[in-house]
């Protein structure tokens, strides 16, 4: 029960303690980053480490800047982002629908179970050559790879979420005379929203794996392409710079899903 209440001075102390702890955690997080970058830069400047092999923060920044000025960065970023997002949306949407179908029909679930198990344990990268033959070497192949890597996990996670619906709640709805559609829309779908959120979080990671893998295999553009290209011509600055940009993009996408979670899950 929630009611307006006045608090004692001890409570204020308690709040301050909690806030101080959170503050400390953030300071330490930033400190680790700053320390690692500074140490890296320092060792590079003192010639302790070879920047030809390990690059260094200042060079990474310069590379990002020059990429930006040549108008290449935005181009490569947008290509990878496009492939990742499309792959993510298809994997998540199709995965959700297939999971719904499998929840709906126990028979279908039993029939398809071995296929899903095999597809789940198969390293999807092994299908690379087949994908290139089928889809060519453009964005289509990369999106296909991203979907392939993401969809199985999306299906399995979502299906487990649907199947975990409380049997007694189903019984309750049945006692009210509910049909299967009503059970689905009133109970199974809203009840599995937390699973949907964790499925989205996993799928963000999977989509990035898929698109970068795909670019390693076939592409002529994109961040994955820059990384592979940089590695082949031994330009570690380019490899590191692309990786940093990738990190930032992936973190942003994850943050978006986390934000979505706050909008969707209102109870608790």
């Amino acid at each position: 029960m929630k009611k307006e209440k006045s608090f004692s001075p001890q409570h204020a102390l308690y709040i301050r303690k909690v806030k101080r702890e959170t503050c400390l955690v953030w300071v330490m997080r930033v400190a680790i980053l700053v320390f690692a970058i500074s140490l890296w830069e320092l060792l590079a400047q003192l010639d302790v480490i070879d920047t030809f092999i390990s690059s260094c923060p200042s060079k990474i920044l310069l590379t990002i800047k020059s990429l930006w000025l040549e108008n290449n960065l935005l181009y490569h970023m947008s290509i990878t982002l496009y492939e990742t997002l499309v792959g993510f949306l298809i994997a998540v949407g199709l995965g959700y629908l297939i999971a719904l179908l499998l929840w709906w029909s126990e028979r279908l679930r039993r029939i398809l179970e071995p296929y899903i198990v095999v597809l789940n344990s198969l390293p999807k990268i092994a299908l690379g050559p087949i994908i290139i033959v089928w889809c060519g070497s453009g964005s289509k192949a990369i999106i296909f790879m991203a979907v392939l890597i993401g969809i199985i996990v999306a299906i399995i996670t979502m299906l487990n979420g649907f199947l975990a619906t409380d049997k007694n709640k189903i019984l309750l709805l049945k006692s009210m005379g509910a049909n299967k559609f009503q059970i689905l829309f009133k109970l199974v779908i809203p009840g599995s929203l937390p699973t949907l959120i964790s499925m989205l979080k996993i799928s963000v990671g999977m989509a990035w794996v898929g698109s970068i893998m795909g670019e390693y295999l076939v592409s002529r553009a994109g961040l994955g392409y820059l990384i592979v290209y940089g590695g082949q011509v031994f330009k570690l600055d380019l490899v590191m710079a692309s990786t940093v940009v990738l990190c930032v993009l992936a973190a942003l996408m994850y943050a978006l899903v986390a934000l979505l979670e706050r909008f969707i899950i209102k109870y608790k």
Binding site: K169, L172, S175, M176, G177, Q182, L187, P190, L193, K268
Partner: protein, 250 residues
Amino acid sequence: MKKLLELKNVSLTYHTLTDEICAVKGLSFNCAEGEFISIIGPSGCGKTTILSLIAGLLEPTSGTIIIDGDKKPSCNNLGYMLQKDQLFPWRTIEKNVFLPLEVKRTNNETNRKFALELLDKYGLGEFKKYYPDQLSGGMRQRVALIRTLVSDPKILLLDEPFSALDSQTRLSVGDDVYKIIKAEQKTAVLVTHDISEAISMSDKIIVLTARPALVKSIFKPNLKGESPLRKRESPEFGKWFEKIWKELHV
């Protein structure tokens, strides 16, 4: 008094791959309008199965169940209350209470108003915008009862509705639920394994045998006092307890 619920020679057999289990065999009893009956028996004797049969969730292998003269159980006559409150955590209290209306497609202004009146009447009106997690166990159980009442069923089926509560809350919620059921003039079938709960709440107690469930004996305690808590104070309470205890453990 008019017979509202009648079980005639009802049997039910379950099948598993390795076995065939006869859960209920030739069960017959009836329940008059406005009566509060309890079904009590050794654990695993198929008490819940009997409620599922009455609710029409299971089809009897043989025999008939007649509710209000109707041979086919219909969800419109029944309200089912389960062990835990089973409120949906993502719905507010009022939305939870509207659930049966939505399912039965009777979610109109009049029925919603009736539901809100019930919440008000039993002291939950100010919590209607709350989520279930913000309420205590006893309050949640009362909401669950109101949810079964909103579609105005003739018979309430209560499947050990207090077993998930601690013993203090259990007594007071039992008292509340009894008063609400009596105030709304409902017929109730309570399944329990708690002898004192059965004695304090019911007009009629049906003692079942171990599986396959059969009626072993029927008691009518008829204790004085207008509420379960008062009835517990009655001098005959102990005698009835002993009688039923012996009956269950012979």
